[in-house]
Each structure stands twice: as C-alpha cells, then as structure tokens.
C-alpha cells in the first residue's frame, strides 16, 4: 500500500515537474518565435489574421518572404545604426582589454599601499548601475566637450570594475615563479603582460571581450541622451524609435528585433562556454 501510494506520488510529481518546465519554455519562447515568424511574412495582414484566429500559423508564416528585411535595410537604412553600434562596441572591447587587463595585472601581481581600498572602489564602481550616473555623467561629458561624438559613447564604458575583477581573478592563478623567471630574463613589465600573460589568458580575454561587446550592443539610455545626432544613432535607439511609430509595419519592426537578437546570439553561441564562465565567476568568487 505504502509503496504504491509513494509511486503514485512520484508519478504526480514528475508530471508537475515536466508541466512547469514546459509552461515556462512556452512563456519564454512564444514572444520570440512569434516575432521571428512575423518578420518573415509577406505583410502585416497575415500577422493579424493569425492573431484573431490562433493556429500554428500564428507562429510559422504561411508564405515566407524577406520583404520586411528589404524594408528594414533598404527603405529604413537599418545598417547604419548597426554599423554605429558595431564600431562603438569593437573599439570599446579593444581599449577595455588594454585598460582593464593592465589594472587586473596590477591588482593580481603587485602589492602596494592602498591596493585594497582602490580595489574596493573599483568593485563599488561596477556595482553601481549605469542608470544612476547617467544624469551627472551627461554634465561631465558635456564639460569635456565630447557630447555628440563617438568618444562620448566609448570612453565612459572602457574602464569596468567587473572586467578588472575578472582579469585579476585569472592572473592570480598564474604562478609567480613564471613571472620571476621572465624578470630574470630581463623582460619589462609591459613585455611580461603582452608576451607572457596575454597568450596564457585566452579564456578570460574572450569572456571579458564578450561581456564588453554585449554591454555596448545593448547600451540604450546613454546613447539616447549623449548622441542624439542621427549619424551616431545606435541600434537600440533606432529600435526604440520604431516602437510606437505607426507608419512602420510590424513586420519591419520584427525584422529589426530579430537582427538585434541574432547578432549577439551568433557571437555568443560558439563562445557561450566562456561567456557563462565569465558572468558566473563574477557571482561566485566573491
């Protein structure tokens, strides 16, 4: 009797288990699949038709068409904000590697007065959300006279306490003896960094670069206020302008969101191991 009841309970638990996960997957994926499907339809009428009568065509287009992508790239010049975001992101990644990598090196392998206090300030600086400093930063960047330039979008994002933390964590595990032998061979500090540490640090460089790229690709509030000039417009601001614009077809907006999702996913997918390693190690190795 007992065993039977226990078995029935386990079976019920299993059904609940699978049901909960499947419902969450449905909640997670429905908007994504629906919008990607919507970007591949011939016109908006087909989107609305399968909303008022739900069927599997609500998600999968009846007739596939790339019209929305044509409209997005040719009629709405979406490649421009994409290119702007890509330029800003790539330059940030490159500068960020040098700036944060060197700082991580200093924190990991040198002992100096005020190191712990300084490191705490760096940590604090990444815990404080960017939104909070957006308003005063606007005045600061304005005082430097670089508002409405690419530098305004790049420079404030280069130094990043979290990335310094990642590099420090990684460099600490590199044995001191390796560095000492390079010193004995007469290598200078910068040479030790670029020729000894960098080749050993591929995983952390990849995860740090991915995080910085995604940060810039996703940037919204700052470019919204600091670069209102349309020649500097970044991808997220361009999308937010589509949102609620009645003259633009839903299909075109869906094409834009699909592209905005596809690019980071295409970069992240082959490198997801590094990305997850990066973001989870900032949370675990406090």
């Amino acid at each position: 009797m007992m065993v039977q009841r226990k078995n029935r309970f386990t079976a019920l638990l299993n059904i609940v288990y699978y049901a909960v996960i499947l419902i969450l997957i449905l909640y997670t994926l429905f908007p994504i699949v629906w919008s990607i499907g919507g970007s591949l339809r011939a016109d908006d009428a087909e989107i609305f038709k399968y909303v008022s009568s739900l069927s599997w065509h609500t998600l999968v287009p009846e007739h596939f068409s790339l019209r929305s992508y044509y409209s997005l790239f040719v009629e709405n010049s979406f490649y421009r904000p994409m290119l702007n975001s890509a330029i800003v992101a790539v330059i940030t990644v490159f500068l960020g590697f040098v700036v944060n990598g060197l700082a991580g090196f200093a924190f990991a392998k040198f002992k100096f007065k005020g190191r712990d206090i300084l490191f705490t300030i760096y940590l604090f600086s990444f815990m404080i959300p960017f939104e909070m400093i957006a308003v005063p930063l606007y005045k600061t960047v304005g005082a430097l006279g670089i508002l409405e330039t690419r530098s305004a979008l790049i420079l404030p994002m280069v130094a990043n306490g979290m990335i310094v933390f990642l590099y420090r964590q990684f460099f600490q595990d590199i044995p001191d003896s390796l560095i000492e032998s390079a010193v004995i061979d007469g290598a200078g500090t910068l040479r030790i960094f670029f020729q000894l540490l960098v080749p050993l640090s591929k995983p952390v460089i990849i995860s740090a670069s991915l995080m910085m790229f995604i940060q810039q690709w996703d940037a919204f509030l700052w470019p919204l206020v600091a670069a209102t000039n349309s020649s500097l417009k970044v991808i997220q601001v361009a999308i937010s302008e589509f949102n609620g614009e009645f003259t633009i077809q839903w299909g075109t907006i869906f094409a834009a969101t699909t592209v905005a999702i596809a690019i980071p996913v295409a970069i992240l997918l082959p490198l997801q191991k590094y990305y997850i390693q990066g973001i989870s190690s900032t949370g675990l190795k406090e």
């Binding site: 090196f105 190191r115 400093i133 306490g161 509030l221 937010s240």
Partner: protein, 310 residues
C-alpha cells in the same frame, strides 16, 4: 621612486614599472566617468538654479521640496511596490528553476538551452516585442486569453494593470538570467553532501534549508543584491511602454530622474533623486558586504593574501 611600493615576492622587486602606471588609465577613466559624476550629483543636489541660470547653494531645500512633492512620493511608492514584487518573484522562481534543471538528462539540457535565450535579449528588444504581444486589439495576448474564456484586457493603458505588465516583462528575462547564476552555484555543491544527508534520512525541506541554501549563500546574496540594483533603477520598459503613466502608475524613481533632467532641464531635482537612490544603493551594498563577510576569513586576512574559497 620605489618607497611606497613593495612587491609580492623578493624576486619580483625588479619589475620596474610602478603598479600605479598600470592602473593609471583605468584610474583616470573610473575617476572621471564613475566617481566624479557620483560626487557631482551629491554636490549638485544641494544647489538650486536661480534667476539667470546661476546655481545657488540651498542646503537641503531640494530634498525638503521632494518630500512634499506628491509626484516624488508616488514614485517612491511605485518603485517600492515594483521591487517588492519583482525581486522575490525572480529570485524564488529562478532558484526553483535552477533546482529543477540541476540534473543531467537530455530533456533538462535542451530546456536549459531554450530558457537561456532571453538572456541574450536586452530590455529594449524585449519591451518592443512585448508591446506588440500586448497590443489590446491586434496582439496575441488577448487572443490567447480569449481562448481561455477571459475577456480582452487593456494591459498597458490601464493604471491597474500597467505596472503588473512591466513586472511580467522584467520577469520574462530576469528568471532565466538569475537561474544561470544559481545553477552555476548549485553545480558547485558536491553531490556527496546530499548523499550524506540522504543516509541521515533528511527530508526535502530540511535538505533545502539546512544544506542547499547555506551552501548557496554567496550566490544567493550576489543574485539578490544585483537583482535589487537592476530593478531599483528600472528605466527602459517604463520609457518605452508607458512613459510613467497611466496616471503615474508606472512612474519609477529612475524615470522621474530622467524626466526631471532631460525633459524639464531641472538637473538639481534630478541630482536629488539620484542622490536619494545612491543612499539606498549604499545601504544595500554595505548589507551585501556584511552578509558575505567570512568570519574565518577576517582572521585569516591578517596573516595571508586575501582570497576566499567559495
């Protein structure tokens, strides 16, 4: 030159660049673009722009004005309500999901990959897609509710529903995002600990409260604090979907700070709101450091290098 510099090991004393030179670029950038703006906003919150655009020192005038301002008080209430619902929902569901997905079956592996997808979608894109999902007449949300026998809802145009909709959108992304961290934490717990518990006949709940949660403390504190930081400053969905409305029902503090600065050019009011948020942030971060302090580590710190094992 080398007076204040002591290197880790005697042998590496020959490293002839000062560590400060290595730190210089990041120090300048963090100082200029992180520390200075924070100090600037605290400073600026004590000034009021008078006639002719000249700022005058005004003491706590901005703050006393804020406290009497029903818009600000409403924003505090909205931000509080939003956080009070969003944070526990995200953390508890993210944790439950992480526990459910902490297995190694094919079903779980596929589910995990699918549930990670929103992590790659930022709030601007998420808000845009959900805005169309929730379009009262043309979106599929009402069509699906209709199939379940529920009459069409106004969603974002209703002051009773708008904040809930924003919460649902934030959870859509948030649950999987925090699940990622908690799952990484769970996978770090050695299965042998559970086996020992099983031999002692520990039930599910005592296992949860006496083994899993204490072992996961660091990840949980990190997740709760980071989640609070993000939600305390929630801006994008409010900006994109409601503009604070209807009737101020989604007017979060961060949106109010944005509006004060960039819509009404009332920077001092904006600085005062930001300073208030900074104060709250400071309390939360201090609480995190306090909760994460390791009693053994405090003793160890004196004798050896500061480095804890998770």
């Amino acid at each position: 030159m080398n007076i204040s510099v002591r290197t880790t090991k005697p042998g590496s004393r020959h490293l002839h660049f000062e560590p400060f030179l290595l730190l210089l670029p990041s120090l300048v950038l963090i100082g200029l673009f992180k520390v200075y703006p924070i100090l600037y906003s605290v400073w600026g919150s004590f000034f009021i722009r008078g006639a002719g655009g000249v700022s005058k020192f005004a003491g706590f005038k901005n703050f006393s004005m804020l406290i009497q301002d029903p818009t600000f008080l409403n924003s505090i209430w909205i931000t509080f309500k939003f956080n009070l619902i969003t944070i526990p929902t995200q953390v508890i569901l993210g944790f439950a999901l992480a526990m459910m997905l902490n297995r190694n079956t094919r079903f779980v592996r596929i589910s995990r990959t699918l549930l990670y997808i929103p992590v790659a979608i930022n709030m601007v894109v998420a808000s845009t897609i959900w805005n169309m999902m929730l379009n009262p007449s043309a979106g599929p949300a009402n069509a699906i509710l209709g199939k379940l026998g529920i009459p069409p809802q106004p969603f974002l145009t209703s002051s009773a529903q708008a904040l809930w909709i924003i919460i649902i959108i934030c959870c859509w992304k948030g649950i999987s995002y925090w699940m990622l961290f908690l799952l990484a934490g769970l996978q770090n717990i050695s299965p042998s600990i559970y086996e020992a518990g099983r031999i002692d006949g520990t039930g599910f709940f005592s296992q949860l409260f006496y083994l899993t949660i204490p072992m996961l403390k660091n990840s949980l504190v990190f997740v709760i604090v980071s989640d609070t930081m993000i939600n305390l400053f929630m801006f994008v969905p409010v900006y994109m979907l409601t503009g604070g409305g209807p009737e101020g029902s989604t007017d979060t503090l961060m949106y109010e700070a944005y509006r004060a600065a960039f819509k009404f050019s009332n920077y001092n009011r904006s600085y005062a709101i930001v300073t208030f948020l900074l104060f709250v942030t400071f309390i939360i971060i201090s609480l995190q450091f306090y909760l994460l302090r390791d009693k053994d580590e405090a003793a160890l710190k004196k004798s050896s290098r500061k480095r804890s094992i998770p």
